[in-house]
């Protein structure tokens, strides 16, 4: 609280006897947009809030599997949720059905002016089961309108569930969907479906090919480990190829099937790729990216300046992994650029609560767009009580990062910016070591935040002598010289509940600096049954770059993007106190050795008003 020399640049300090703030800080610019009422007032809290307060008990160490194993214990522990708390959890601008269970996104496509999203959906309950294909359309990937169910499990070849699948747009304008059917004998087969009426832009009615299945599990493959056919791509011989994920001897594999008409398929003798020890590969995705432009590429493109991304959802870990490599269309094989970071061993699509992602080529705007399913981290019991479970991410544009040359970039589609209302700007806020700064922006539950951090004095980085090797994200209370620093999201004023999203820089034993990007959910909610852990991964910060973050905050979901989308973390948060008007946003710096300055632009976000399609007729 004392004014030390390092604080003379600070606009003012809130003294304990003085309840009203002094004049607003000079460094904070007036808000750009009209409505920001209390823009310039910023309150400094110089107490070491991170160390002092630890309200909620440490959650027991959990595996990365969601807490389904001991429902009775969890039920006893279930928080006394009120309807208002549950209602708050529903998102305002992320896609989710009106009620009940959703999982994998399916068959995304653009057709006759409409974006289509299908999704694994249980029309009867808020837990998985009786899986159908839900259907929604949008003109802009943000404002979705619900349509009737596209497919239900009404044939022997999908009686156990209409599972995940992909769409292929053929050059002659036809659409084919291949999906996994769980048969009436629990065998996983691949089925063909197509629109009943291609002149219906809403593609409401679908027809299942009468002679389904078109692919059955081959010899040597477990019939319960054979699913999720991909979008097809055309080979040099003019025929189509698709992949189906599976597993052999603990290795995740991508099986190749070839067809010219989508009704007769031939299994290829080889595999596109396999990786030892990665287990069953679900939701395989395979697509080209341009290495010399930011345009998306249609799925069949090959040639110079093109690399291919191979992605798999690892069943054992419930995480999405990918690698970039080279596809040889003649031998139908794919080789990773870095075998040490092969699929399942290196990069994750998203380091948070995220699974079953799938891309499609948007021929309307020439972008490669990525969908991802975000499960709940509360319990089945909670989901049944509140009547729904799961959301989809905001769709992301995928491009090749040609600054690093070794990863993709994911960024929310720019159409999400149409939801932006008023904004508040803050310039060069000083956040001293061991402090937090409340950002006065009004409501803090529907936000689009862009923030840039600079560490005061680059000498601090060089002065770091002791290696503080941090291999993976730890809680934000783990203080080191250079971190963590970032934002506290969905935090109440007393910080009894808070979700730090932050950078953590450390010097490794070989002298180089590494940066981790993390989201710490361990103190996000007082509810004991919620699964709370620290998520995150490494992020490359190049020499000429500041530390940048973009966050989409939408009630119980936060999507966090570091360095323009090099590393992404999606979080599910269920506060009991930091909801509605009590939810606040802070900057924080829990480093011991450096101050940081932050500049931010924060937009309030409108609802997307996702609702049923107005199908009524005269």
């Amino acid at each position: 609280m004392q004014n030390s020399p390092s604080h003379t640049n600070a606009p003012y300090t809130l003294l304990p006897e003085d309840p009203s703030p002094a004049r607003p800080p000079a460094s904070s610019r007036r808000p750009v947009k009209v409505f920001a009422a209390t823009a310039a007032s910023v309150v400094f809290l110089t107490s070491l809030v991170m160390l002092i307060v630890n309200q909620s008990p440490e959650t027991p160490t959990e595996s990365d599997h969601p807490p389904r194993s001991d429902p009775s214990v969890r039920d006893r522990l279930s928080y006394n949720w009120t309807n208002a708390m549950f209602a708050w959890q529903r998102t305002a601008f992320h896609f989710q059905p009106e009620k009940n269970w959703m999982n994998d996104p399916d068959g995304p496509l653009y057709y006759m002016g409409w974006y289509h999203l299908f999704y694994q959906y249980n029309p009867d309950s808020a837990v998985w089961g009786n899986i159908t294909w839900g259907h929604a359309v949008s003109k802009d990937l943000i404002h979705w309108l619900y349509l009737p169910l596209a497919m239900v499990p009404d044939r022997w070849f999908d009686a156990g569930g209409v599972w995940t699948g992909s769409a292929t747009l053929l050059p002659d304008g036809r659409i084919v969907i291949l999906y996994t059917g769980d048969t009436d004998e629990s065998i996983q087969v691949q089925n063909l479906a197509y629109p009943a009426n291609l002149s219906d832009p809403l593609l409401i009615e679908w027809v299942k090919y009468p002679d389904n299945p078109v692919i059955v599990p081959p010899a040597g493959i477990n019939p319960e480990e054979f699913r999720d056919p991909t979008t097809a791509w055309m080979g040099p011989d003019g025929t189509w190829r698709i992949l189906v994920g599976s597993k052999v001897d603990g290795s995740g594999i991508a099986l190749i099937y070839q067809t010219s008409n989508f009704t007769a398929f031939e299994a290829q003798p080889g595999l596109l790729h396999a990786v030892n020890g990665t287990g069953m590969w679900e939701c395989v995705d395979f697509y080209p990216v341009s290495t010399n432009s930011s345009n998306g590429l249609e799925t069949s493109v090959v040639g110079p300046g093109v690399k291919h991304v191979l992605k798999a959802s690892l069943d054992d870990l419930k995480k999405d992994y990918y690698a970039i490599g080279t596809y040889d269309p003649v031998s139908d094989t794919w080789t990773p650029d870095d075998p040490e970071a092969d699929v399942g061993m290196g990069l994750q699509v998203d380091y948070g609560r995220y699974y079953a992602s799938k891309t499609f080529f948007d021929q309307n705007t020439g972008r490669r767009i990525l969908w991802g399913w975000i499960n709940e981290t509360d319990t089945d019991y909670d989901d049944l009580a509140k009547g729904w479970a799961s959301v989809q991410t905001i769709p992301r544009v995928v491009t090749f990062d040609n600054k690093t040359g070794s990863n993709i970039l994911e960024w929310p589609v720019e159409e999400v910016e149409s939801l932006r209302l008023n904004s508040t700007e803050f310039d060069d806020i000083l956040v001293e070591a061991g402090s937090a700064v409340l950002l006065d922006i009004g409501m803090a539950t529907q936000l689009d935040i862009s923030v840039e951090f600079e560490i005061e004095g680059s000498d601090a980085l060089e002065a770091l002598e002791e290696p503080e090797a941090i291999i993976e994200c730890a809680t934000a209370q783990n203080r080191t010289t250079l971190g963590p620093f970032g934002l506290l999201v969905l935090a109440d004023k007393s910080l009894s509940e808070l979700t730090p999203i932050y950078f953590h820089i450390a010097k490794s034993t070989n002298g180089s600096l590494t940066t981790l990007f993390c989201a710490d959910e361990t103190r996000s909610s007082k509810a004991l049954e919620v699964f709370k852990k620290v998520y995150g991964g490494p992020v490359a910060v190049l020499d000429d770059e500041k530390f940048t973050m973009r966050l989409l905050v939408d009630h119980s979901i936060i999507e966090s993007f570091a360095q323009g989308g090099r590393t992404v973390i999606t979080s599910r948060i269920y506060p009991t106190e930091a909801i509605y008007g009590a939810a606040k946003l802070f900057l924080f710096n829990n480093a011991t050795g450096v101050n940081v300055t932050a500049s931010l632009e924060i937009w309030q976000m409108n609802s997307a008003f996702i609702r049923p399609f107005p199908l009524e007729e005269m």
């Binding site: 002016g113 409409w114 003109k139 705007t365 399609f613 107005p614 199908l615 009524e616 007729e617 005269m618």
Partner: protein
Amino acid sequence: MKALVCFLLLLLLLLATLPSPTRSFEFPAREMADLIDQTCRLTPFYDLCISSLRSDPGSGAADVRGLARIMAGSVLASASRTLDRIQELLGQAPDPETERPLAYCAELYIPVVKYTLPQAIEALGKGQLGFAVYGLSDAGKEAQACEKNFSGLSWSPVTDVNEQVRDLVDVALAIIKILQRSF
């Protein structure tokens, strides 16, 4: 005597109900003109509505649903002209400051002209008013987004055409509201 009076009264009644040949020509024409007039009075841009509808030869014999379809057609024509103008301006190799928002506008208008408005017109024909309203509103939104994208510049080469699209959309939506109210 009484019978004669009754007969004369009946005759009078009969004569009174006989239609006059000249009047049967007048009534239909005046009623149809009134419909366009009546309809346009309920829209936010009366003059624009009148001129758009009357310029279509079929408007004279159309009912309100028909007028809605004609107006939606006018929106499509206006949007197509706007897209043509944008592409013409792009073809003249403008400076980068103007080129970027123009290219953005083209991207917005292309699906509107190619899909959104034709689908809205078809939906009106099938009585799918909700679908038509959504499509027309979307066209108006895209015109607005196109205009907004020029906010950095001191003037926009497409303000007048964008505004016409939006005004026509508002007229079309108002006519459809009349339809929705009557069911």
